[in-house]
Symmetry: C2
Subunit: 344 residues, 2 copies
């Protein structure tokens, strides 16, 4: 079992391992869980006899204000007090949703996360970002509300589909680039039973924990976590979310690697291509640069002071830079070419 | 013009006066306003040419997740960036709602409040509490999200009905008991044009600002602001919200005064009765003690460690105490008797 400390803005711990010890708070609990991991929720429910159990299927459709309202009303009907805890059991969509419910109920109650996907273990459940989607876009509503503890039980990964297992590690790979840890760039031998899995996930989670501890409210350093996400989000949108988040980010990192090489950085494109192959990414949407740029423009609106790209110059050397349109276009042309031939 | 500093958790200022200077941030604005004070919203809209204007009628019905969602979608459709500001113009229901929208949009954008009722000026708009109601109860969902500034423009009170003007001052009276300021206990001569209004509201607002600066997250001292609210909320619920909040709190303070006298404190009951007369409170619901205690029990559930009453022992000497059931019952019997005859 590995323990990682997240320091900011409130101190809490991440536990990564098999058959983790379950905390036993003597307060009422609301356990919000993906029915796919209902066995874990049942086990957790054994800690005391005061629970509200709510099964919510994982997936972006559940991250809505309608589901948020339904859960809040359920908690209110059960009369959950201020010192109650919300326990989230599932992938990133469940931890995002349940964490946001905890943030809003009675103006904020404590919560704990049991992430059950690789993506949630190394990324979504760490850092205190919670929220839901609007029809206008993903994650447009939310709160910074750090959990009281994160419990990544690796035994839950045994039932995760191989493609989702690998896709989640795209973010771990990204953390390798950010943290300058080459071991994270080579997940090729990993599988749910691998001994190397725990240290791998722990290293990946530690990078995220370090970054968010240093820059909780996303003013600067934390922006590096957006590596691959600017083009990635546009690709997701252009594919009408047919392309998964993990694959979209992998494609986005290839683009970022091309920008980095073009601007005089090291050549990280081979690594990004190998990642695409390993995760069996399907072809990205055929959208043109102007089409994708329009989606990126919407992202850009999130800050009035312009868009900065996260450009990898080398392992552990990422820079936030404005990039002129002609450079973006030429990197995109290269990207299209590589992507067309990547399977070969 | 009076300026009051709120120190915690982030520093901001309250401005109280006539024809206040309007800030002119160079960022897009979402102005959420009660159409009753549309003239003020129009004036504020003149500060720059980037606004989204949304008229929402004041009142508890507007404090719903449905309206919250509608506003969030409107902001998203307008592409409001992270550095946009939400401006709330109206009474406490509008500032609560708009502040909560600001708390959630893109995980939190800045907001400013233009309270236009006495209640919002001395209470609702100060302290960073924002939120909406659920069908299960008032203010069950929300966030602590302090505004960037509060602008109490007294000219807006000219169009406020006299009963609402006076009712709002019930909370100012309460702040007088908390802060030990006897001048706040005698609002009898006040009206919207009175010279004494500005210093009166400023003193009342300053008490609230002091209390919330000292205990932002409501762990202890801030609980004193609940004076009169425990029975008050029960009376509101028992009357199916036919009894207004101000009147309910005034009745609740009379009950608290009786508890204080019974427990050896000073006799503050005359003051509370005069307040009821001045605000022309209608008769409270005829609910029995067990009926009201059931409503209070629901309130109680908000903390597992039992219910503490705010008991006034003297001006400025309020104590948080558990009170045995027989004492509550005997104080309630006295309360019923006084209330039956209060108009005489």
């Amino acid at each position: 079992m590995t323990e990682i400390l997240v320091e900011k803005p409130s101190e809490y711990r991440l536990f990564i391992g098999r058959d983790l010890k379950v905390p036993k708070p003597k307060v009422p609990l609301a356990i919000i869980y993906d029915p796919k991991v209902g066995y874990l929720a049942e086990k957790l429910a054994g800690v005391n006899n005061q629970q509200v159990m709510e099964a919510i299927p994982g997936g972006e459709e559940s991250k809505s204000l309608a589901v948020y309202e339904r859960l809040l009303r359920r908690l209110a009907q059960a009369g959950l007090p201020r010192d109650a805890e919300v326990w989230a059991v599932g992938g990133g969509t469940i931890t995002d949703l349940a964490g946001f419910v905890a943030a809003g109920y009675l103006r904020g109650v404590a919560w704990r996360a049991w992430p059950t996907t690789t993506l949630a273990m190394v990324d979504a459940a760490i850092g205190g970002k919670t929220g839901v989607n609007l029809p206008e876009g993903k994650n447009l509503v939310g709160a910074f509300h750090p959990p009281r503890g994160v419990y990544a039980d690796l035994t839950t990964l045994a039932t995760l589909a191989t493609n989702r297992f690998r896709e989640g590690l795209v973010e771990a790979f990204k953390h390798g680039l950010i943290g300058g840890d080459w071991r994270l760039l080579e997940p090729w031998e990993l599988h749910p039973q691998a001994d190397a899995l725990e240290p791998y996930l722990a290293r990946a989670a530690a990078v995220k924990a370090d970054v968010v501890s240093g820059d909780y409210q996303e003013q600067g350093e934390r922006m590096k976590l957006n590596l691959g996400h600017t083009l990635g989000h546009a690709l997701e949108a252009a594919s009408n979310h047919g392309l998964s988040h993990g694959h979209a980010v992998a494609y986005g990192m290839l683009f970022a690697a091309l920008l980095g090489r073009q601007r005089g950085g090291a050549d990280l494109t081979e690594h990004a291509l190998t990642l695409l192959r390993w995760t069996e990414a399907p072809s990205p949407p055929t959208a043109s640069w102007p089409e994708l740029a329009a989606y990126i423009g919407r992202d850009k609106k999130k800050r009035s002071d312009g868009l900065r790209w996260v450009v990898p110059y080398a392992l552990g050397d990422l820079r936030l830079e404005e990039v002129p349109e002609d450079e973006l276009k030429s990197a995109f042309a290269e990207w299209r070419e590589l992507v067309a031939g990547y399977a070969g």
